[in-house]
Symmetry: C2
């Protein structure tokens, strides 16, 4: 450690505090970036649309609640403290019975609705 | 949803269950991969070594406990439910007073000790 006069206290990113900053659903907010990948917090409830991402995998981490992701041949349930990586090109449809708080990780520039455009398509690259 | 006979139940990755599979410290285990990035769980306690990663940022998410990362000009405290991205090329030294459970995210092939070799250097790409 350097002498005290030069010490900088860097700040971690707190997920709960980020969620407290907004209440709207379906609007991913960027909270951090690692190389060209972004970490996004989002609240969702109800049905998303079927979509896929042709060029990238997509990571879902559930921080609160329970998420189901439907695939054309089945589904995965993701509870708090769990993660799942949807492979690129695989059609999927997230669904939450009650509001779920998610952490998404994917390359910068990826739209939430992938190759589909819908009323669920959110503005990209919004930092919080 | 397809007809029931064709439904596959996919499995999420549960962080707690992964941690229950090992007790040794300082040995990152890969639990998932997104494109060329890996998610690794690791338990650490005490002092790591000063090191940096010349070519990539590195993400730390604290799932249990408290992590301090020292930098040459300061430090960051990362609590449970918080994350931090160490920029590429920045020298850092993780430290944990008591055992902390971490989720690391970085490109596949990145060594835990970066550009330094030490007794802390762990075998890479071990899946659990």
């Amino acid at each position: 450690m350097p002498d005290k006069s030069a010490v900088t206290q860097y700040s971690a990113i707190n997920f709960s505090k980020k969620y407290d900053l907004f209440s709207e659903q379906w609007t991913p907010k960027v909270i951090a970036q690692m190389n060209n990948y972004q970490f996004k917090v989002v609240k969702i409830e109800g049905d998303f649309i079927w979509h896929s991402h042709a060029d990238t995998d997509e990571t879902f981490i559930v921080l609160e609640g329970q998420l189901r992701i439907d695939f054309r041949d089945g589904a995965v349930m993701i509870e708090q403290g769990e993660m799942y990586v949807v492979p690129k090109g695989v059609e999927h449809k997230p669904y939450a019975e009650r509001e779920v708080k998610l952490l998404l990780i994917e390359p910068a520039g990826v739209l939430n609705t992938g190759d589909e455009k819908s009323e669920r398509t959110a503005v990209n690259d919004v930092w919080i």
